[in-house]
Each structure stands twice: as C-alpha cells, then as structure tokens.
C-alpha cells in the first residue's frame, strides 16, 4: 500500500485540467504504454505570452495522474520563462511529497512541460526523440537525462536514479554505468570493478568452449527472462557470429541487447577484443 499524501489522493480523485485544447500553442508527449505511464500536455498562451489554458491526459498510476494535475495547476498563469524553471521537485513539493519509488512521475511532468515548450518555440515534434547516448535500454533513458536527474535531485545511489527516472529498473544491465554517472556528477572517484582476466593463449577449441559456457551462464538466463534465446553460429578469430531466437528475434531493442547483454560478458570472460555479429537465421 502506497503512503500517498492527502493532496496526491485529492488530485488523483479530482484531477484538475483534464482533457485537450483545440488549436494548442504547445504540445508535449512523453512516456508510452509499454513503460507503464504516459502524459500528453498542451497549453495555450494569452496575448501577454502567459499560459492561459493548460490541459493534460495521463495513462498511469494514481501518482502519475496527481503529478500531471499538479503540474497544470503550477504553471497556469506563468510565462514560458517562468514555466521552464519548474523542476520535478516543485511538482513533488506541491503534492506534499511523493513516495520515493514514484518520483519518476514528477520527472515525467517536467519532461512533458519541456517538450511542450520546445514544441511551441521550435515547432519540433511534440514527442521527445532520444538524443545522445542511451544508457538504460529497457526504459530508453539517456546519459544526459540521468546526469540531470542526479544533479537536480542530489541523488547518490543507483536505486534513487531508478526511482526518479526508471533507468536501471528493467534488466539491471546498466547499473554499473549509472553508478559511474553518479560518481562523475558528484565529483567522486569512480570505482570500476576489475574485469576478470581472460585466460591467455588458448586454443580455438578452448575459446569456443569458453564462449559457449559464457553464453550459457551469463547471457542465456537474461534473455530467457524475456522469452528470448540465442544460438552460437560460428567463431572466426575474434568475430563471434550468433543468431537470436524466440522473442529476441523480433525485439526492436535487440541491437542494444547485442552490445550490453551479449558482447559485454563475452569481452569480460573470453577476450576483450571480441566483436559479436548477428546472423539472421
């Protein structure tokens, strides 16, 4: 049972400013059905360039609905200059706080607002394209976004980052990278795990055996969790040819999977110069 404040419950039960605006000046859309929450925000400006009307539609849990509703109340009457200074913390504070694991709902509000302002100013599409390097492939969170959330909210652990923007909340493969980003933003020394040294001077047969073992021990269990699988097709020097099976074969995120889930462990446990290539069956 979540410990929601009365204000969260109030905004969930009686959300303010629900709906759509005809001919809006700015529209921002973030999230997706797959991610479990999504927000569409639109506003209209008056002749003094203030937000005269703002409406939202949200798919999500009680706190996602409440955070969207709170956001619209906060920014109504603001100039865009004022509105773009609104942070996710402002949204959470307006609601008297959100449970830690639900902080990502407040971040979603801020992201939608930014997307809507950008849409108004530049005419860029209302949906945010992922820009920069994607760290969390499960939820599509970029390095820039994680850096910003760590800075804005003074976060210090991977778990906190997951609570605030979902990064690291899926397969967990990016936890090490998130920890590095936190350390970098906070100016602390990075503690990188030493990779296990690969055995030296192995025969090709030993090498193939080691690759098979690593596939079975490190890689397949993770793919199978999502209904996928992988087969080793061939090994040519440092090139490892594999073929995805089942769910992985149709997965749009497969190229990320290839790098993070398949190549990285093979480089760690077999040889650092391995390059994995997908062969279509």
């Amino acid at each position: 049972m979540w410990d929601y404040t009365e204000k969260v419950i109030d905004h969930f039960r009686n959300p303010r400013n629900v709906g759509a605006i005809k001919d809006p000046d700015g529209v921002g859309e973030v999230g997706s059905l797959a991610c479990g929450d999504a927000l569409k925000l639109m506003f209209k400006l008056d002749d003094q360039q203030r937000i005269a009307d703002v409406k939202f539609q949200t798919f999500g849990c009680a706190s996602a609905i409440a955070a969207s509703s709170a956001l619209t109340e906060i920014i109504k009457g603001m100039t865009l200059g004022e509105a773009e200074k609104v942070t996710n913390k402002d949204i959470a504070e307006y609601l008297g706080g959100l449970p830690e694991q639900k902080m990502h709902c407040s971040v979603m509000g801020r992201e939608a607002l930014e997307a809507a302002i950008r849409n108004y100013r530049t005419g860029e599409s209302a949906t945010t394209e992922l820009e920069g390097r994607v760290v969390c492939t499960c939820f599509g969170v970029t390095e820039d976004e994680i850096e910003r959330i760590v800075r804005d909210n003074n976060l210090s652990t991977v778990e906190e980052v997951t609570n605030y923007c979902k990064a690291g909340g899926g397969c967990g493969g990016c936890h090490g990278e998130i920890a590095e980003i936190i350390s970098r933003v906070r100016g602390e020394p990075v503690q990188v795990e030493q990779p296990r040294p690969a055995p030296k001077r192995i025969t090709n047969i030993e090498r193939i055996k080691l690759i098979e073992e690593t596939l079975e021990r490190e890689i397949r269990p993770r793919l199978r969790q999502d209904g996928g699988d992988i087969e080793l097709v061939d090994v040519e020097g440092n090139r490892v040819l594999v073929s995805f099976r089942k769910a992985c074969a149709q997965c749009p995120a497969a190229k990320f999977t290839m790098k993070d889930v398949v190549e990285a462990p093979l480089r760690q446990f077999v040889s650092p110069d391995i390059v994995v290539e997908e062969v279509k069956p």
Binding site: G36, A38, C61, A62, I65, K102, F139, K166, P221, G227
Partner: protein
C-alpha cells in the same frame, strides 16, 4: 461502506470455526507438546489430530505431512532440501510463472552453481510438455511446477506432468497453495512427491503451512535444531495454528464441492458482466483450465493501480499485476511470460473469490467497475488515438 473482498488468492478471511478451534490453545492448552509432563504433553495429540485432517484432505498418510510456517517455507524446503539431498550441483527444472517462493530459491541455487531450466508458457499460460520431457536430464534433482497459478488461476495438467517426471525417475514438487481447499487433491492419484500448501489461503490466520513429502523421498531439512516433525523441520510446534489448519481442512473437505459450484457461478457472472459492459477488455489465461474462483482481466489503455484505488474508494478489494502496484517498474513476470501485451498487462486486475462472497458483492462490483474504467479512460491519452484510428 460495503466491504467487498475479491482478493482471496492473496489471503482469506479466518473462518469463525477455525478461530473457535484455535482459542483453547491460547487460553488453557498452551503447553509444549514435547514436554514430559501432562500439561504440555497432552497438547501433542491435537497436533497429531490436525496432521490426520490435513492428510485426509489431500489423500496422504499423516506421517507424510510436515507442518511449516507458510507456503514459502514449504516451497523453499522442498526445492532446497531435494537439491541438498542429491548432493553436488544438480539440475533443477521449474517454470517462468512460478510464485517467487519457488523461482527465487531456484535462481539462488543456480547462483550457487546448480543448473536451472525455466520452462516458458504460451499465451494461455500453458506449458509445452514436450519441452518438459526434453529438459529432463540424468542429474535433474527436482522438478518444481505449480498446480495453479496465483495470478491467473491457470491449472497445469499436473497428472500428465507427474507421469512424465516420474517416468524419468525424477522428484516432482508442486506448489499447490492456490489449489488445496479449492479443488479436490489426491496424492494417491496424482503421484507428486512433494506438495506445498498454505493455511491462510483456506481460511486460517497467516503463519502456518505444510509440506507433503511422499514416503521414501530424500529431503534434507531447512531448519535444524530439534526432533519435531520427525526431525525434518525443527522448531516448537505452532500448536494453535496447526490446530486451525486441521479444522480448515475439515471445513474444506465438507464444503468444497457445493461451494466451488457456487463460487464459480459468481466468478463467471462477474467476468461475463465485465466483458459485456467494458470495451477493450481481455481475460488473461486459459479460461478452460482455471481455478473456479479466479479471474484475471486486462483493461487496455488504463493502469492497474489507478483502477485498484478507485475500486478501493467504493469498498472493493482486488489486486493487479501492474508494475506500479508492486513497486517494481515492470509488469508481473507471469503476464510477461505469457506475452500479454504491455497495454493489457499494466491494466490487469485479478479478482479472486471465496465461499464468503455473495451475489450482492458481484452486483456491487459490476455496478461500479464500468464507471471506473470509463472515468480512467477519459483521462488516458491513448483512448482518443485508438478511437481516432477506428473512425
């Protein structure tokens, strides 16, 4: 406000008869059954009586029943006990839709060096039995496959599974926590080697379970330190709760047939009512092979936690496989294993009934649920897109 409890796969109301049977063991009969004096020793016979009652409900011999603290303990004991009795780092087979009590101990043992096969399921939540056959190996120490799924109610064909596993000479454990008390169970006809059950799913308080262990099954104990339960599970017996479990098994045996028809009728009316009044709804799981009390319904384009909280406002208690309710970010592992589309998994609601539900409960739910779904869909950005596509 009306209190409509439709979350009986989570836990059940304590039956008044069970509570009454337990009371003397808090008031007068609080001795230790292992004591040599009469005051304590006299309690022992009630524990044995309870053991007989539990055994009778599932067709076992009383000596094959070990009392535990909960279903999770029974599951852990079965899997770990069999692996340790086999020695070394043997192979384990389970399914991807097991309760975490089984899945987590299997994965833990895998992290300690055992080999693990997790069988997948199809879109109805059913296993491929040929895949089970192919997965069995000479060093497979245990196969642990649930009888009924807690989220969807889907029943696995445990008789066929037992034939396959026993045919290969392997040990079969089944987590029957959701089945015992709801459907007839007879371990003489269904030759599983071990079977877990939990009291609070059949109207005892939380804190008591049992593991059936077929005579001759090699099993190491989980808890060491005493002679209780034939040396298989140390710890002074939780006498009042064990007695309560015995009484609950009695009640289940007497009432099961008639009640399951009544409960199933209510469940079907609820489900048919939802399908008739709400659009973009799907039933998750195999409708032909299901517990009679469970319905798992996916409401597309809306999110489970929001539905649950609105149901809660009108006094209806249910649960969800949505990510948000569990605190994790991904929807339930069962929904994912079945390949339920995210659109429906996030909005999946489980209704689970018991003999204490009434027709009025169903009326109340069918009165409020369609309005709640409509209200949340008015908030959802996806519904208009869907509508627009259709026009």
């Amino acid at each position: 406000m009306r209190n409509v409890y439709l979350d009986n796969n989570a836990t059940t109301m304590v039956a008044p008869e069970v509570r009454d049977a337990m009371t003397p063991f808090f008031e007068e009969l609080w001795g230790n059954p292992s004591s040599i004096h009469t005051f304590g020793g006299q309690v022992g016979k009630y524990v044995e009586e309870a053991r007989e009652r539990v055994a009778a409900l599932i067709g076992a011999d009383p000596s094959e029943i070990i009392f535990t603290s909960c279903g999770s303990e029974s599951d852990n004991m079965a899997v770990r006990g069999a692996v340790e009795a086999a020695g070394g780092y043997p192979h384990i087979i389970t399914t991807r839709v097991e309760h975490p009590a089984v899945l987590a101990i299997c994965r833990y043992l895998e992290s300690r060096g055992c080999r693990l096969t997790e069988l997948g399921v199809d879109s109805k939540g059913q296993l491929d039995l040929d895949q089970l056959k192919d997965s069995l190996r000479a060093d497979t120490a245990i196969v642990s496959i649930m009888w009924a799924n807690n989220e969807t109610g889907v029943l696995f064909p445990i008789d066929q599974i037992a034939q396959i596993v026993k045919g290969a000479g392997c040990i079969l454990h089944t987590d029957a926590v959701q089945v015992v008390g709801k459907l007839p169970v007879n371990v003489r006809e269904t030759p599983v080697d071990m079977l877990s059950l939990a009291g609070h799913k059949l109207h005892t308080p939380k804190g008591v379970g049992a593991l059936y262990v077929r005579k001759g099954t090699k099993l190491n104990p989980l808890i060491h330190g005493g002679h209780q339960e034939g040396g298989k599970r140390a710890g002074t017996e939780n006498v009042p709760y064990i007695v309560g479990l015995g009484r609950a098994c009695d009640l289940a045996a007497v009432n099961m047939k008639e009640e399951m028809i009544r409960v199933k009728t209510m469940r079907d009316r609820l489900e048919d009512g939802i399908l008739a009044t709400c659009s973009d709804v799907r039933v998750n799981g195999d409708r032909e092979h299901r517990l009679p009390n469970t319905s798992n319904v996916g409401f597309e384009y809306i999110e489970g936690e929001a539905i649950l909280l609105m149901l809660d406002e009108v006094g209806i208690a249910a649960s969800s496989g949505s990510a948000c309710t569990s605190g994790s970010l991904e929807p339930s592992h069962v929904m994912r294993a079945m390949g339920v589309p995210f659109t429906a998994a996030h909005g999946s609601i489980r209704f689970s009934l018991s003999r204490y539900n009434t027709d009025e409960d169903i009326d109340h739910t069918l009165k409020h649920l369609p309005q709640i779904v409509k209200r949340l869909r008015e908030l959802s950005p996806f519904v208009q897109q869907v509508g627009a596509r259709r026009e």
